[in-house]
């Protein structure tokens, strides 16, 4: 089984801890001049996103996690699983609802997402940073009001709800920031 020595630790390295895959967020080398060296790391659980701290005796080895981040095209979902395809190999994977989580409300067919695969199985899905989505429901627009600061909720084709300016109407295509869950602008045609 592949493993890493603490000497190879750095941000982004994928390791196994207590049966779960983690990514190293921060690695600090702590060593008294004459004494035992330690590596104090912050690691993020790739399944839950939880960050925890861990201290290793330097020189120890830790099992490597077989984790790859890959860009995949979202195809469709059947309510239980969301299906993605590798655009190079056309290989498909199904991600359970719990894995897709929050990302589901931004996923539009054909969009390219970052999928994290552990031993070939998807464990997290990140939607594109910006997506273009059509408004399916919102209060009638206030025509001509393109300046005032007011906003109203709008439901998008994927089911997500974002705050939009008052002039936006049903049927318009909006550019949305998925990390912040915010309206950016009308999508350019």
């Amino acid at each position: 089984m592949a493993s890493y020595s603490t000497n190879e630790f750095k941000g982004g390295l994928k390791i196994m801890l207590d049966g779960d895959p983690y990514t190293i967020v921060e690695n600090e080398f702590v060593k008294p001049g004459k004494g035992q060296a330690f590596n104090r790391v912050k690691v993020r659980n790739l399944k839950t996103g939880r960050v925890l701290e861990k201290t290793f005796k330097s020189g120890e080895s830790v099992e490597a996690a077989d984790v790859v981040e890959t860009d995949m095209q979202y195809l469709y979902n059947d309510g239980d699983h969301w299906y993605f395809m590798d655009p190079q190999t056309f290989e498909q994977v199904g991600a359970a609802k719990a894995v897709v989580e929050d990302a589901a409300r931004w996923l539009k067919e054909q969009d390219v997402c970052t999928v994290v695969l552990w031993n070939g199985e998807p464990i997290s899905v990140e939607p594109p940073a910006h997506v273009n989505l059509t408004v399916t429901e919102t209060d009638p627009g206030l025509r001509g009001d393109t300046s005032s600061g007011g906003s109203k909720p709008a439901t998008l084709e994927t089911g997500a709800v974002v705050q939009v300016p008052l002039f936006i109407e049903v049927g318009e295509v909006l550019k949305v920031d998925t990390r912040r869950g915010e309206y950016i602008s009308r999508a350019k045609e």
Binding site: N7, N27, E28, F29, V30, K31, P32, G33, K34, G35, Q36, A37, F38, R40, L52, E53, K54, T55, F56, K57, S58, G59, E60
Partner: protein, 321 residues
């Protein structure tokens, strides 16, 4: 296309401050009539310390001698000078330690090391404080015994605590602490590095002295409490800045410590360097009563300039060298 990797990581202003620090250090010792010396960076022997790993250099096949090592400190060579009658000496030396890399570590770094005849570790702490205050300003100086520092900052008696107490203390202080089993000194190092050192030197120069004999390194034992050694360290802003000893002069005890170190390295599956027989012969010939200290000059410069990372004060850190 050539990248920006050829450039130094330090600006010219930092180069200037570094040059000024070196000049100030030389001035400090010139005034005190301490002689500057220069010993080999590449040596036939190296240290046997369980936790200091040397970088071995392999000469081309057929050349003599065989293995040689980049020196992890100039200590042994300087002690041979002392035994040969050099009197008080100092050196600004490049030192090398394998696998030491991080915010406060570069595998190649600069040590200021000096020895004073007739001093014990208390006398040398006073002189270290004078030098550091001349660079960082007139900070107050505090001195804690190792036992006091552990009592005050970790609520632990480091000489008395059993394995369970050490484990509990580490679990409180260190998130996700490793299991160090019955390695007492490793537990103490963990607590020192994660709990005590970060609490030291916030607005003062904090010395910790009289270390456990198991961590004596090259310090002599205290005559009245032989479970403690005449070793000190200086902490400023949580950084370990200097390490000094009232030097062990007894060749038989030195040999026993080397052999114990070798056994510990062998047990840990690490390379086991040969004993430095020339150092032992020098002790046999007679090391004058003296105290010595090594101070991390890069770290002193970091403190002077408020730098967060060592590469801010080294123009070409390892990955750019």
């Amino acid at each position: 296309m050539p990248g920006a990797g050829w450039r130094p990581t330090t600006g010219r202003d930092f180069l200037l401050r570094r040059a000024r620090l070196l000049a100030a250090v030389r001035g400090f010792f010139a005034e005190r009539r301490v002689l500057e010396v220069d010993t080999p960076v590449l040596g036939l022997h190296t240290v046997t310390d369980p936790h200091i790993d040397s970088i071995a250099v392999t000469p081309p096949p057929g050349s003599t001698p065989g293995a040689a090592y980049l020196q992890t400190s100039p200590e042994y060579a300087m002690k041979r000078l002392l035994a040969a009658g050099s009197g008080d000496i100092y050196q600004i030396a490049h030192a090398f330690r394998a696998e030491e890399h991080g915010r406060l570590h570069n595998p190649e770094f600069t040590l200021l090391e000096w020895y004073r005849l007739g001093y014990d570790h208390h006398g040398l702490m006073t002189e270290v404080a004078e030098l550091v205050r001349s660079v960082l300003g007139a900070l107050p100086v505090r001195r804690f015994t190792y036992a006091e520092a552990f009592g005050r900052f970790a609520d632990l008696d480091p000489f008395d605590a059993g394995p369970d107490a050490l484990r509990r203390c580490a679990a409180r202080a260190v998130p996700g602490a490793p299991d160090l089993g019955d390695d007492r000194d490793a537990w103490l190092d963990l607590i020192m590095g994660h709990l005590i050192a970060p609490a030291l030197g916030a607005e003062s120069l904090d010395f910790v002295y009289d270390y456990p004999a198991s961590q004596a390194a090259l310090a002599r034992r205290l005559p009245d409490t032989p479970d403690r050694a005449a070793r000190f360290e200086l902490f400023v802003s949580g950084l370990e800045l200097a390490n000094g000893f009232h030097e062990l002069a007894d060749p038989a005890e030195q040999r026993r410590r080397f052999e114990r170190d070798q056994a510990r390295r062998a047990a840990a599956g690490k390379p086991v360097p040969a004993l430095d027989r020339r150092l032992l012969a020098a002790l046999q010939a007679g090391l004058p009563d003296c105290a010595g200290v090594a101070l991390g000059l890069d770290r002193l410069l970091m403190l002077q300039l408020g730098a967060e990372r060592i590469e801010q004060v080294i123009p070409f850190p390892a990955e750019r060298s």
